[in-house]
């Protein structure tokens, strides 16, 4: 029994291929039999992944979902930023330059608008919950931008570690919601062309959320959304601890 486990652990990346393969197979089965294909297989697979991550988290008490279970540690490599970035770049192969150019303006506008919008909404919720220290409000707003901008801005302006933890949680909620709800809204918001995909990437920004959300809607749109989303965290890290913090500081 132990040697069986050992093989799975020493070959953890291969075990991860099998795990993800089975998850995707099961997901497409559910998609076809239970939803008549209306809910796309990859969307179901992503939700299944999140459910597994939840149960793994309660089981191990760790922060890395199923990757904290020894035999599934390979999922951490397969789903880590190295291979994710590599695959995202690969999706650009064959993407259309002129589509990118013609939606460039809308993409850049949505990028700045998106950061300010998410920040403001996060800040409003923080104020509604009784926070009145500009540092706290800014940090929670920053977390709502993405879970990277939260801690980066929080430590830059000297917020407490509890508030930084909250800001990370807000960013995680956003990222997971974008992953799961994008397929539900895609039709209604016209997310079916390169331009709206670029606007989507610029408004949502969360790399993992945009990557998963578009994958579940139409893989052809991935490069366009990923293109703007890749600048989002950077714009957030630039704007939040500087201009936006000063504005909040003036108001409180």
């Amino acid at each position: 029994m132990n040697s069986f486990e050992d093989i799975l652990i020493t070959n953890n990346l291969i075990t991860a291929f099998v795990f993800v393969g089975l998850t995707v197979y099961f997901a497409y089965f559910i998609s076809e039999k239970l939803t008549n294909g209306r809910f796309h297989g990859s969307a179901v697979a992503i939700i299944l992944g999140l459910i597994f991550a939840y149960f793994a988290g309660t089981l191990t008490g760790g922060e890395k979902g199923v990757a904290d279970i020894a035999i599934l540690s390979g999922v951490g490599i397969l789903g880590g930023s190295m291979l994710r970035d590599f695959a995202i770049v690969a999706t650009a192969y064959g993407a259309n330059f002129s589509d990118l150019k013609s939606s460039g303006k809308a993409g850049i506008f949505s990028l700045f608008f998106g950061v300010i919008l998410s920040f403001s909404l996060g800040a409003i919720v923080a104020i509604a919950f009784g926070y009145d220290d500009p540092k706290d409000i800014t940090t929670i707003g920053a977390g709502t931008v993405t879970f990277v901008v939260g801690p980066v801005s929080g430590s830059a302006i000297g917020a407490s570690s509890e508030v930084i933890a909250l800001s990370i949680a807000a960013g995680l909620v956003k990222s997971i919601l974008v992953m799961t709800t994008t397929p539900l809204f895609a039709k209604r918001i016209g997310l079916d062309n390169p331009k709206s995909a670029m606007v989507f990437g610029g408004l949502m920004g969360t790399n993992s959320g945009v990557a998963a959300g578009l994958a579940a809607v139409d893989p052809k749109l991935v490069p366009y959304g990923a293109m703007t989303a890749t600048f989002y965290t950077a714009v957030g890290c630039l704007l939040v601890p500087s201009v936006l913090f000063l504005l909040i500081d003036l108001m409180f």
Binding site: A45, G49, E63, A226
Partner: protein, 119 residues
């Protein structure tokens, strides 16, 4: 050869990430500024160029398209390693902030996408 495609993809990714890191340090922030975007632009440039000196062959192309097709399984793996508990444990405020931001952003997608069309 298949490895040429993978290597080209690797070159684009690494150049992009290095450029993104440099941009980040210029702006004085500890984050990669658009590295992936730069890498994607590079790859698009190569995929749209074809001349006597440079052409991506059929086999090399397979090295790139494989990775682009394996993208969704990678995203599934990424979902499986999220800190879902952390998101739920953040409490009502974190939950509301996230929900609010996502819903309102969704509303703005068609508005911004259609903005230029109507002008």
């Amino acid at each position: 050869m298949v490895i040429y495609g993978i290597a080209l993809l690797g070159i684009c990714t690494l150049i992009g990430l290095i450029a993104g890191q440099l941009l980040g340090s210029w702006f004085g922030i500890d984050a990669n500024v658009g590295g992936i975007g730069i890498a994607m632009l590079l790859l698009m440039y190569f995929s749209n160029t074809s001349n006597a000196h440079f052409k991506i062959g059929d086999m090399s192309e397979k090295g790139i398209t494989f990775w682009s097709m394996i993208y969704i399984p990678i995203v599934v793996a990424m979902a499986s390693k999220q800190n879902v508990i952390g998101a739920i444990d953040g409490g009502l405020m974190a939950l509301l902030a996230g929900i609010f931001a996502v819903l309102v952003s969704f509303i703005f997608i068609p508005i911004i996408s259609n903005f230029e069309k109507n002008k």
